[in-house]
């Protein structure tokens, strides 16, 4: 127990930002848009969240800053790809480059100025026993991410708005001909994805390392993008996938720290594991053909109505 709980806490903190960003991207992709700018939106969210915490000391306001900043950046993507029908892949990559540069520029004045980490959501009395700490010891974004898994599943499967969103991602021209606003739905999805990525980014300074570092999201945005495919666009599988990745990253940390049996495998190999796992899972999914049919049919295609 004494060993397990700290590992669990590290795991949860590693998995949460990936899960949040991937959930946002899942909704975006279900609407038929491929936004590869998740990493960039996360970095902008991270610096906005950092600044919010730095100036106000209110972590909830800081998360809100991250969400707004992520949504604002995603609006650039939305305008280019939805209103101007630019190529989504290229625009997404550009967004990541932009986010990386912008966050480095905006973050420069904050270097080496620590902030307060976000405290746990529940009062510490609930988390006195180590076991309870494993349940009640986390800060709000962790519980929020769990809530969003079920909220998004419910939204997509059980609500009319979710059905319309899936329809837009499945066949944009048909949705248009029935009379749904394809661009409108996709704008909302992209903004939601941006906000989720922004919150995910803000988790890095607020939950993990309480100071600003350039590129502090360290490629987690890309893992989030891969995870959406990995989970075949299903929120519950996304939860499992994010924690699997989180587990591997946690192992890496412990291996680096020279933690007993784990250090038998070199830490570089641990670091490579999430990516190896992605490849293996993608291969397995493509063998099972029915699983890949869950991909939205219009994913990444620009919407070009005939009139």
């Amino acid at each position: 127990m004494e060993i397990i709980i700290p590992i669990l806490v590290t795991l949860v903190f590693a998995a949460t930002p990936i899960l949040l960003a991937a959930l946002g991207e899942l909704v975006v992709e279900k609407a038929g848009v491929l936004n590869l700018g998740v990493e960039g939106m996360m970095l902008v969210g991270a610096i906005a969240g950092f600044a919010g915490q730095f100036y106000t000391g209110n972590p909830y306001f800081a998360l809100l800053c991250g969400a707004v900043a992520g949504a604002a950046v995603s609006l650039i993507f939305g305008f280019l790809t939805l209103s101007l029908s630019a190529n989504q892949t290229a625009t997404g990559l550009a967004l990541t480059i932009f986010g990386t540069g912008f966050s480095a520029l905006a973050g420069a004045p904050f270097s080496a100025r620590p902030i307060q980490l976000m405290g746990p959501l529940f009062p510490p009395e609930l988390a006195t026993h180590p076991l309870w700490r494993g349940v009640f010891g986390y800060s709000a974004p962790v519980y929020f991410s769990f809530f969003m898994v079920f909220a998004i599943w419910y939204f997509l499967q059980k609500t009319r708005a979710g059905l319309i969103l899936r329809a837009v991602g499945e066949n944009d021209l048909s949705a248009h001909s029935i009379g749904y606003s394809v661009r409108g739905v996709r704008y909302l999805a992209v903004l939601f994805g941006g906000a989720m990525a922004g919150i995910a980014g803000a988790c890095f300074p607020l939950l993990l390392t309480p100071q600003w570092a350039e590129r502090m999201t360290a490629g987690r945005g890309w893992i989030a993008v891969a995870l959406v495919v990995f989970a075949s666009w299903r929120p519950l599988r996304l939860l499992a996938g994010a924690y699997l990745f989180g587990l591997v990253m946690t192992m890496e940390l412990y291996a680096k720290a020279g933690g007993g049996p784990l250090s038998v495998i070199p830490s570089e190999l641990w670091a490579a594991l999430p990516y190896l796992a992605t490849i293996v899972v993608l291969v397995l999914i493509s063998i099972r053909r029915d699983a890949s049919t869950n991909a939205p049919a219009c994913l990444g295609k620009p919407f070009l109505p005939s009139n």
Partner: protein, 514 residues
Amino acid sequence: MDASMPLRLQLTGITKRFPGVLANDDVSFSVRPGEIHALLGENGAGKSTLVKMIYGIMQADAGEIRWDGAPVVVANPKAARKLGIGMVFQHFSLFEALTVLENIALGMDGTLKSRDLEVRVREVMSTYGLLLDPHRTVATLSVGERQRIEIVRALLLDPKLLIMDEPTSVLTPQEVEQLFEVLRKLAAQGCSILYISHKLHEIKALCDTATILRGGKLVATCDPKQETSRSMAEKMIGAGLKDIVRSQGRSLGAPKLAVSRLVTSKAGHFDVPVNDVSFTVRAGEIFGVAGVAGNGQNALLDALSGEVLGDDKDAVSIDGYPLGLLNTTGRRKRGLCAVPEERNGHAAVGDFTLSDNSVLTARDRLGMVIMGLINGGAAKTYTGKVIADFAVKALGPGSTAGSLSGGNLQKYIMGREILQRPSVLVVSQPTWGVDAGAAAAIHQALVDLAAEGSAIVVISQDLDELLALCDTLAVINGGRLSAAQPVGEVSVEEIGLLMGGVHGATEARDAIPA
């Protein structure tokens, strides 16, 4: 019909201009309550543009739409549905990954709970005999079943005007009859129907009035029951219709294409594998394969073209030379060319120019590739010839295939294969969605090719086409081919029974309506 009732729909002076084309030029006509009104015209005559404006997908540049006597602006399809206008599209606007019920829910304006909706859907389905499982995923349904979803979706709104865009192109004769029953029932209840089709005998059987468009202009309004199919077709194309000209008393040559005990393995979603098919086509013969969609036509075409290979080298042969193990390229070199049913994406690459598309199938027979390098000039010249000979409406060999209308692309594809002078040509649905004038030209080209001594296999669901075109006819059902019979000696009833699977040996498939 009560004459004092206002007209259900009245169009006055509708004009719509696209860059470079006048799609609709001062079109005026009206539909009475309970009337079945046909909208006739060749491809590009402006029928689709017109109904898109009625359904609110497009807005007219000039003119007025009156609904039940009052002028209306149909801003979007939602507004159209609110007025009581339903539409069944030619290309179904369905979502493959979603279920029947979800698809229907998307077409409704969201006031019903999904459980209540299911009850209503089942009601409508049983009232009109449109049988479907609401929880099936659309991807697993046949084309005919998909159309039923569209119809149910439109009927759920209790429409006062139902627009049907070429609804029968994919149905069996029996299914067509069922559809007509539904439409007549609806009309009797006062629902007006605007029926777009180019099948003239259907319009004669079903419609009260026909409005004929040509080049965006209204050229005639007539009572189809008083007209002949021929007179309507001539109004449509604005000229006398050419009959197929065959040289008299021609005799068929030696056997050219021999298919022997052809078997394919598991076919795709909507088709069955071919089972033990044998037939022979002689030089100069046009051999027709009739049948309802999804009975093995695609598998047969793939097996003949070489797209799907079997393991018996003698299953397909030309002049005794076995082709069974050769792929498409090998078979083309030996003189067997094929045109699949799906023109955009299968017979042609939409984003490629016509020239490049010619290279794809004609490179070996016409020497368009020399030592791995494409001879662009040869491809361009050949494509230009196809465009000229087959009257393809395209800017030139540099136009992309996807920019052509369906009928024009079909003319190009047929021309591309026919001008290669293949010794055996296999075509599927040669005139699907093609207007009467173009269809006649394609038919004539096929007859001419046969007259030069080629053996031709035509796979089609259009029985009229097969009866007009073919020397010999067989019916495919459940992957098995009936015995071939000379066209003069079979009756339509007999073929209809064979298409329905009544040849003793095979069981009726579930695709056949009860």
